[in-house]
């Protein structure tokens, strides 16, 4: 799965980066910088939590083209 953000819906609450620091950082304005690689299996649960926690529903988990990394 891939993490994708709708940049119009995103208002930079930063919840996602708090819940999933392994894959999401924030830029100097508070908007998420998302690791573009597929979400590793081990982090899928946390990724789902981050998606559910987004106050503007801007973050999505979508099926990716490439297989997930095992690390």
């Amino acid at each position: 799965m891939d993490l994708k953000v709708n940049p119009i819906a995103c208002t930079g609450h930063g919840m996602c980066a708090e819940l999933l620091p392994e894959l999401i950082a924030v830029d100097e304005w508070g908007y998420p910088l998302i690791d573009p690689r597929p979400v590793p299996y081990t982090l899928e649960r946390d990724a789902r939590k981050a998606v559910a926690a987004c106050p503007t529903l801007a973050l999505k988990l979508v099926r990716s083209e490439e297989p997930a990394r095992s690390t």
């Binding site: 709708n6 940049p7 119009i8 819906a9 208002t11 830029d27 100097e28 304005w29 908007y31």
Partner: protein, 436 residues
């Protein structure tokens, strides 16, 4: 809502008639004088409808026609997507919004060959099975297009009536999703994709949006076939394209040229010119004399990160400051951010301010590093390509005008003439209402 060219900018003339080209059969799109329906029909014959949807798409594919609004997307793929989409209601839009302030070719085309555009609109409508046709215009419709529509209506020439909508004078108003929002009665703001407008566009209907020049080419491909279309231009990017050319002698001209034409055939041999701008304000500066041998096609321009775009070409005279020109244009682009995406909203004004600083006398040590970091931070993070296009323009300026940046750092400037060269709209955006 009209967007006049900035009259402080230094150009002798507005675009005039079509210039003659040496290449065989050109100009194809631009007659020497505006043509009414009778003149149009006697030149081209009746509209060659195929009788049912999809038939024309094969010819368009074989022609290699790509969108002439700037993105150069293969036309047959958009046609096929809408033709193949489910749903009884389908929409086609001729996009004449020409929201690039330096581009004037669509305005000229609509003025002197309106029937070719309207033929293309009806033919593309048939090809995709459209049930609704629109024309989206930059300014209030001119007398030529209104007359053309009236002539066709009185002869019952067109299967679909055409609804005209005026675009607000904003840089992003012609972007596909912004256009669909405006036609739907909302502000001309881009939206996040997917879904693509070809799947779900105006009112949820599959929607085909094509630039007006693209439709004019399509009308000719329908009449003369793909082989005729490919008789000019390069093998990989065939056909001709309209260009808006800002020459070093301050003349502005519209030319129809074959793709692959040496750029110096339009902009001169580089004497009295310090750099070329190709592809408009989302395009790139090209260094001279290094780039003097380039041709007007994506393959040639790619190594400089440039593309022909919507055909805006400018030769920056040797007596101007490229840095000051870039800072002025980027200030405009920053103000034209829709302000919807955080990185664009925050990054573009900072990038514009940093460029202003570089274009002044002396700059803080960290400004160059800030500029690089912000350019990286906005790239790929917008719902539309505005941040990416702006960064392309900025990065090319940092490369091409590097010697000038060094000069400004020492408090000097090579320019002898401070008058703005590249055109901008007179009226800068001021309120949310400007998007309507």
């Amino acid at each position: 809502m009209t967007t006049a060219l900035d009259d402080t900018a230094d150009h002798d003339t507005a675009p005039g008639g079509a210039a003659r080209q040496g290449a065989a059969g050109l100009p194809r799109l631009l007659p020497q004088a505006p043509e009414d329906l009778q003149a149009h029909l006697s030149r081209y014959g009746t509209v060659p409808y195929r009788g049912r949807p999809k038939i024309l798409i094969g010819d368009v594919e074989a022609s290699g026609l790509t969108g002439r609004g700037g993105a150069a997307f293969p036309v047959h793929r958009k046609l096929a997507a809408v033709a193949g989409a489910r749903g009884g209601r389908k929409v086609i839009v001729a996009n004449g919004s020409e929201s690039e302030p330096a581009s004037r070719k669509d305005e000229l085309l609509l003025r002197i060959a309106p029937h070719l555009v309207l033929d293309g609109l009806q033919l593309a409508a048939e090809a995709v099975g459209a049930t609704e046709a629109h024309l989206y215009l930059h300014a209030a419709p001119g007398p030529q297009i209104l007359r053309a529509l009236a002539e066709r209506a009185s002869r019952r020439l067109d299967p679909l009536p055409v609804t005209i909508t005026q675009a607000p004078p904003r840089f992003l108003a012609g972007q596909e999703t912004a256009l669909v929002n405006r036609l739907g009665g909302g502000p001309a703001l881009p939206t996040f994709q997917p879904p693509r407008v070809s799947e779900r566009g105006l009112g949820g209907a599959p929607t085909l949006v094509q630039n007006v020049e693209t439709l004019a080419h399509l009308a000719q491909i329908a009449r003369y076939g793909p082989r005729w279309f490919r008789a000019v231009g390069t093998e990989a990017e065939p056909g001709s394209m309209l260009t808006t050319v800002y020459r070093p002698d301050h003349k502005t001209e519209i030319h129809e040229v074959p793709t692959g034409l040496p750029i110096r055939a339009l902009l001169g041999d580089g004497q009295e010119t310090q750099a070329w701008l190709v592809g408009g304000y989302h395009g790139a500066w090209l260094p001279l004399p290094d780039a003097a041998g380039l041709t007007l096609d994506r393959a040639s321009l790619r190594k400089y990160g440039a593309a022909p775009g919507a055909g805006v070409l400018a030769a920056l005279p040797a007596d101007r400051c490229g840095l000051a020109e870039t800072a002025r244009i980027v200030g405009y682009l920053a103000a034209e951010s829709a302000g919807q995406c955080g990185p664009c909203l925050n990054g573009l004004p900072r990038i514009a301010a940093a460029l202003n600083e570089l274009a002044g006398a002396g700059h803080r040590k960290q400004t160059r590093a800030d500029l690089e970091r912000w350019a990286g931070l906005v790239t790929g993070r917008g719902a539309c390509n505005h941040p990416d296009g702006t960064v392309r323009f900025v990065r090319s300026a940092l490369r091409v005008f590097a010697p000038e940046i060094a000069r400004h750092a020492r408090g000097q400037c090579a320019a002898r003439n401070r008058k703005p060269f590249l055109p901008l709209p007179n009226r800068m955006p001021t309120s949310e209402q400007d998007w309507i």
